[in-house]
């Protein structure tokens, strides 16, 4: 390998077909560390004529007899490649003052003393890189392998997860990776609440269609409108006494300040400190002494009837479930896949409010919150609220989306970690570059990624973009409940 040139923080490195180099490899050029983000053919003068002459007669119609000693070198020049490597920083030796020296990674380079002729270029061993980054690599790292000439296991440091974005185009493997992160969090005894709009997480507690796995005791699926509990799936309802009159009014489209609204306020005041449900509200509004105006009474009765018919309100053990799984670690999956947008909005708002209350009261220390395609059920201002205020009560969101443009800019500004899978669309790539965690050149490398390959960057990688290939997860049904138009034969 030879250093060809440097443009800004890009190094162009020429290498021969015998030298193996791939996207994601980290190169050590003397003490400088650069990462391969693109590989192209070396643009040699005359190569077009060379290829055109070769293409005069198709390969299939050509037989060649080449001197054996020459064979290995024929086409080696035409196949010379150039790797575009982004300078990430350098490796420095740190002395702890007691004579112990360790190698550490530092971003940036203030000196550039490389030589085209003399600088030694080598592929940095992944163990060495991960060690310099303060990251662990073991053969048993279950999350992913590094995408490099010599792949090594990469274990996601769950303690460094904060505000996270897992993104990639449809079918790129982002949901699979999100589920793997979720399982890792369960192992680390963290509670995660998942808003599952596509029914992606419903089978995580299964080893096969009919057999549960070790996660069964740690995963609960909460499904609205479900009559009775089935295995890990529990009915979900919102206890009326845990919702405010204002929220209830908003859910049922009661105008603030109207006589109907006033009666709701009155009812909630009467019931303050007590357990109550829709039956109590129904009894209240049906009593002419409470609601004298017939028109108002009829309006309130209508709203109660709608609330009852929705099946969303009723007794619930959600608080105790959160407390229980907060202790043991686990996941509560809110199955939002079969309900209307209106119902989704109510449930999400309720759950976020519940988390906020539990956080404020220090009932919970910290929980993780997975929001799949959040734009479908969270207003942009509420997303900002999740990012800013909820973090202070210990709620750490992970956004999972196939279109990063649907997320407000604040997500990218405040992001701690980005796990980005393949994208082809320039607009989406540009949006990712807003995060500041990743440069445009590396973002462009996403175009070349295969299924289940990604770039992870942020606290979980000590801010060094690491190309990864997510490993298969044994013993867990990772697929959701999506159906095929034509079943495979």
């Amino acid at each position: 390998m030879y250093l060809l040139t440097k443009e800004a923080d890009d190094l162009w490195i020429v290498f021969s077909p015998q030298e193996k180099l791939r996207l994601g490899d980290t190169l050590k050029i003397d003490e400088i560390v650069a990462q391969v983000i693109d590989i192209q053919f070396a643009d040699l003068p005359g190569v077009l004529q060379h290829i055109l002459r070769r293409s005069l007669i198709p390969k299939s119609e050509t037989e060649e007899r080449i001197q054996p000693e020459v064979k290995s070198i024929v086409d080696s020049l035409a196949d010379q490649k150039v790797a575009l490597a982004k300078i990430r920083g350098r490796i420095v030796e740190i002395d702890d003052g007691r004579g112990n020296k360790t190698k550490s990674f530092r971003t940036g380079i203030s000196e550039f003393n490389l030589s085209r002729a003399k600088s030694r270029i080598e592929i940095m061993r992944q163990e060495e890189l991960l060690q310099a980054l303060g990251l662990k690599s073991t053969a048993t790292s279950e999350f992913a392998n590094t995408l490099s000439t010599e792949p090594k296991g990469y274990a996601i440091p769950a303690e460094r997860l904060g505000i996270n974005l897992i993104t990639g185009m449809k079918g790129s493997g982002k949901s699979y990776a999100a589920k793997k992160v979720l399982l890792e969090l369960i192992k680390r005894r963290v509670l995660t609440l998942v808003f599952d709009v596509n029914g992606e997480y419903l089978n995580l507690w299964k080893r096969s269609e009919n057999e549960p796995n070790d996660y069964m005791n740690y995963i609960r699926i909460l499904t609205p409108h479900l009559r009775t509990a089935q295995a890990s799936e529990l009915p979900f309802a919102i206890p009326l006494n845990e919702t405010s009159y204002d929220d209830f009014a908003k859910y049922l489209n009661v105008q603030e300040g109207s006589p109907t609204y006033q009666h709701l306020v009155q009812f909630w005041k009467q019931q303050s400190g007590k357990q109550f449900d829709l039956n109590d509200l129904e009894a209240y509004v049906s009593n002419e002494k409470n609601v004298q105006n017939e028109a108002v009474r009829i309006a309130l009765q209508g709203r109660v009837a709608v609330a009852k018919a929705s099946g969303l309100f009723g007794p619930s053990s959600i608080t105790s479930l959160i407390k229980e799984l907060h202790e043991s670690g686990g996941a509560i999956v809110f199955n939002l896949s079969r309900i209307s947008a209106w119902e989704r909005g109510i449930i999400v708002k309720y759950v976020l409010g519940k988390l906020s209350d539990l956080g404020h009261s220090n009932t919970i220390r910290a929980v993780s919150l997975f929001l799949e395609e959040a734009q479908l059920y969270v207003e942009p201002e509420n997303m900002v609220n999740i990012l800013t205020r909820m973090r202070h009560v210990g709620v750490f969101p992970t956004f999972i989306t196939n279109d990063p443009r649907t997320l407000p800019d604040e997500v990218f500004t405040l992001l701690d970690n980005l796990i980005a899978f393949a994208f082809r669309n320039e607009d989406e790539l540009r949006q990712l570059a807003k995060s500041g965690l990743i440069d445009t050149g590396t973002v462009n490398a996403l175009k070349n990624l295969e299924n289940k390959q990604c770039v992870a960057v942020g606290s979980i990688t000590s801010n060094y973009p690491i190309f990864l290939e997510v490993k298969a997860q044994p013993g867990v049904v990772m697929g959701g409940e999506s159906r095929k138009l034509v079943p495979s034969s």
Binding site: V47, Q49, H50, R53, E61, E63, R65, D75, A78
Partner: protein, 338 residues
Amino acid sequence: MIEIDSVESALSGRIPKGATFRPSEVSLDECLGSSQKDDVPDDGESAVREEWEKEIRPLTPKYPAETTVVAIDSTGFALGYVPEGLVAALRASVVTRLAGESKHRLERYGPYLIALTNTNKEDAYQNLYRTIYGESTASIPDLANILDRMRNLFERHLESEVARHARDSLILLDGSLIGGTVANPRFFVRNIIDHAAGNGSSIAAISKSTRLVLQRSRRSILSLLEGAPGPCYVGGVRNHIEQQPERYLGEIYVTRLTPCGEPFRVDLPDDAPKSHDTILCELSGLAGDYGYPEELKLAHMTCVFSGIEILELQAAATALHGLVLKEEVDVRPKIFPL
């Protein structure tokens, strides 16, 4: 493919390891390689008397769709120089279009690296000469010409093999049908012609340039077609060559194969299975740009070396012979920077 094991082994030539190697300069966007062909006896130009009634006859192009066409060409290039010698590369192409088909097939032989020095050149040349012609030669070319001679031997071998195996074909050779020169023994060229005729194949040897000149004006015989319109030819040239006409083993024509094409010399054996007129019409049918037969053009373009290949071969030669690169420093730009 043609059996060339014995020729391949005769093409080797070793030089001492560690010799310094001064590579030839290469421009990457050029095609490189020489394929200079003898078309007159060894003593230079040959004159053609002009006092005969030249009849310029028109050609009617006829594409020989039902005839197999085979074209052969070769190239050689001096990759660089070692003390008292050179390292070179040879390559040859045989392009075939089978009867009734429109696609072309390519058989390509080489590149072969040969190292030639004053010390080994005689053995190397004799060895190859004997392998191909079955006899020795007293005439060893000097280093300046040896590469071209060895390339010529290699090409003759392939021509001979094609003539022995191709049936009912039109065989296109690059060059002439001269025999009896130091590089082209008469018997061997005669054998090529006879084998081809025996297999029902016609040979046409086409020269882009010639050293046959008109006696008085000293202009090339290709000027005979100046001013003549359309595809046409003039024959009977051989009968008016002054020196050693018997060395020319075929009738010599000057032809223009397409309306706006260049004039070429075409040698056709006397005993060809088809009439000369038919062969010339078929050549006209095969002619593409500049009036040159497409198969020969392909044979040439697929055997010459690109600048990229030359650099690769220089690297291979360095590795194979354990050479030490020595870049020749041109002091001129240093002395005269502006």
